[in-house]
């Protein structure tokens, strides 16, 4: 099985536990967090994850977190630009 690496950007409500929620879902759904940049003032998280599973499986679960307002697949954005 191939490992896929994806970059996501999440816009979130700034609840104290929102980062835990996101990381828990990533781990439980089978994604390893490789890199992340967290801006608590802006409520923005950029995260690089790696998994054998398709990224839509993580994105759809992250979108269900009440405090996550938006999940953006940065790979798709890059693809769109290069196209």
């Amino acid at each position: 099985m191939t490992l896929h690496t994806n970059n996501l950007k999440l816009i979130v409500n700034q609840s104290p536990e929102v980062l835990e929620r996101i990381l828990r879902v990533a781990r439980h759904r089978g994604f390893e967090v490789k890199l992340m940049h967290w801006n608590s003032e802006r409520g923005e998280l950029e995260i690089t994850v790696s998994s054998q599973r398709a990224i839509h499986l993580l994105m759809s679960q992250l979108k269900k977190i009440f405090d996550v307002k938006q999940v953006i697949d940065l790979n798709e954005q890059i693809d769109a630009k290069s196209a």
Partner: protein
């Protein structure tokens, strides 16, 4: 604050000041909650003080897990939000299994927990536990109230989240100082989020898929009942004549008496249901999620069928099985839009022949009691609106197979989590959800029953008319069955010949009880139980060798069901 004042505040739209604990009770009443289930303790004492004369019915369960399952049973049997209350630390940790159960089965529950005073959170104070942290994996959402001024809006959000979209449990952890603080607030009731509307073009595509199919089959899950779309689905089934199967949670959505209703599918599903699903060319999935107990080996599940998947939760679409077409939205609106006449007589006839060929055989040419037959007899005797609450194991599968339900709210079964100990407290909760002329029957096994047996105390305290059918094979039967079939008959820790005397146990709680062991005793015993005035425990001894059939072995295709070996 006096009870009269609190009552008055319930209807007040102006900002008023009251203790946080009184605010909670006032809010629950304003929200329309009539009954809550719980257990007091140190960090929730202000709330219990407010409950003392707050005008809200509180049911004291005898363990917080019992309170959580009672709230679940109440929610499932009524369609409303169930509420449970516990103290900090052990009180809250004891709720966790119930919340996990509600999460797996998408049940709207709001759990209120006391927390130690804000100033000492994080100091390992007495009965302190990071309940918010513990709740992350087993709730739809959770809050720890951090500021007294957010309490009212947090409660409102908790109910809104529990009910909206795909329902689920929400936990609200309230530090003791906030329960005691004077709070000025306006209480506003929860709202339900609007469900995103689907694209009309998808409906047209779906109809095309359905009309092109020669062998379509409906695979119905719990989502149809939760969308209140049972009538719409039955109408759809009547109009289209489409054959159907249901999941464990979907049982009751389509009556087994409908000509092409093939019952439950999956590991202990009907042979006709599983074979027809395997042969279908279009699987119409409504409010279901391709659980492994349904699909068997996923790669071989309805391998030649296209998939039309309709669900409220986009995360379930393409999660385990890619769909050819999916519609995300409200089933109560989508189902009627898909009604089209179909020309599938050959397929209907085939399904109907299999249904007849593999119908249940209740012939039991021996004296000992055959539980499936007993449940079938009980099913015929019960009024349509009865509620049956099960535990987990062989008896649970027998109920799923042999009792005819006409609404999913009448069948309470821990489906996703499979929690032993669910049945008795869930039945207690259901008793409060339904009028007295609708019987509540708990069907349990000797293993499961002992897991929350303390709730007999709740039945006694509240004088509840709950009937209990305890099917006793002196074994942890389902595990024993698997040990027999797949672990070389090495019966590790599944032999319960040292069970207590259940009739004596019931009598200690003033519950009438009787033991039966022979088939001849079944009918009079069922009559006696159903005609009894209050709680009743019917202890049914069965042979430990009786197994649940048919069975899809682990890792096998649903086409390869084992039968009585």
């Amino acid at each position: 604050m006096t009870a009269e004042l609190v009552t008055d505040l319930t209807n007040n739209t102006k900002a008023t000041t009251m203790r946080g604990a009184d605010l909670l009770v006032s809010y629950l009443k304003k929200e329309g909650v009539d009954t809550v289930f719980g257990y007091p303790g140190g960090a929730i004492m202000p709330v219990y003080d407010a409950l003392y004369d707050g005008g809200l019915k509180h049911v004291l369960c005898r363990h917080e897990q019992g309170a959580a399952f009672a709230a679940l049973g109440y929610a499932r049997a009524s369609g409303n939000v169930g509420v449970c209350i516990a103290t900090s630390g052990p009180g809250a940790t004891n709720l966790i299994t119930g919340l996990a159960d509600a999460y797996m089965d998408s049940v709207p529950v709001v759990a209120i927990t006391g927390q130690v005073t804000s100033a000492v959170i994080g100091t390992d104070a007495f009965q302190e536990m990071d309940v918010l942290g513990m709740s992350l994996s087993c709730t739809k959402h959770s809050f720890m109230v951090q500021n007294k001024d957010e309490l009212a809006s947090v409660l409102q959000q908790a109910f809104s989240i529990a009910k909206s979209g795909r329902p689920g449990p929400v936990l609200v952890d309230i530090p003791k100082d906030i329960q005691l603080a004077d709070i000025e607030a306006i209480l506003e009731t929860s709202t339900v989020d609007e469900i995103a509307s689907y694209d009309e073009a998808q409906i047209a595509q779906a109809i095309e898929l359905i009309q092109q199919a020669k062998k379509p089959i409906l695979y119905v899950g719990g989502g149809v009942g939760m969308a209140n779309a049972v009538d719409e689905l039955q109408h759809f089934v009547d109009t289209t004549g489409i054959p159907s199967v249901t999941t464990l949670k979907g049982i009751g959505t389509i009556a087994n008496t409908k000509p092409y209703a093939l019952g439950m599918l999956g590991m202990h599903g009907t042979k006709a249901g599983n074979l027809c699903v395997q042969e279908s060319d279009l699987l119409i999935v409504m409010g279901a999620r391709f659980d492994d107990r349904v699909t068997g080996r996923l790669e071989s599940f309805a391998a030649n069928a296209k998939v039309l998947h309709i669900d409220i939760d986009p995360a379930e679409i393409n999660k385990l099985r890619a769909s050819d077409l999916s519609i995300q939205g409200d089933l109560i609106k989508i189902i009627p839009a898909l009604e089209v006449p179909l020309n599938i007589q050959d397929w209907q006839q085939y399904c109907s022949e299999l249904k007849d060929k593999y119908r249940w055989d209740y012939n039991a040419p021996y004296r000992s009691i055959y539980a499936p037959k007993l449940l079938s007899q009980l099913s015929e005797q019960l009024p349509r609106k009865s509620v049956m609450s099960c535990d987990v194991g062989q008896h649970q599968m027998w109920v799923a197979q042999h009792v005819n339900f006409t609404n999913p709210r009448n069948h309470l079964s821990s489906s996703g989590l499979g929690t032993m100990g669910f049945g008795l407290p869930a039945g207690i909760g259901a008793r409060y959800a339904r009028p007295n002329d609708e019987p509540v029957i708990v069907v349990s096994g000797d293993g499961s029953f002992m897991m929350n047996v303390q709730e007999l105390g709740t039945i006694k305290r509240e004088q509840l008319n709950v009937k209990i059918v305890l099917i006793d094979n002196q074994r942890l039967g389902m595990v024993r069955q698997w040990q027999q079939l797949f672990f070389e008959e090495r019966y590790s820790e599944t032999i319960l010949t040292d069970n207590p005397d259940f009739v004596t146990l019931a009598s200690a709680f003033d519950i009438e009880a009787k033991t039966i062991t022979l088939q001849d005793e079944v009918q009079p015993a069922l009559d006696e139980m159903l005609n009894s005035k209050g709680a009743y425990l019917l202890h049914v001894r069965i042979n430990e060798a009786d197994n649940v059939w048919p069975l899809v072995p682990p890792g096998a295709s649903n086409a390869d069901m084992m039968e009585n070996v």
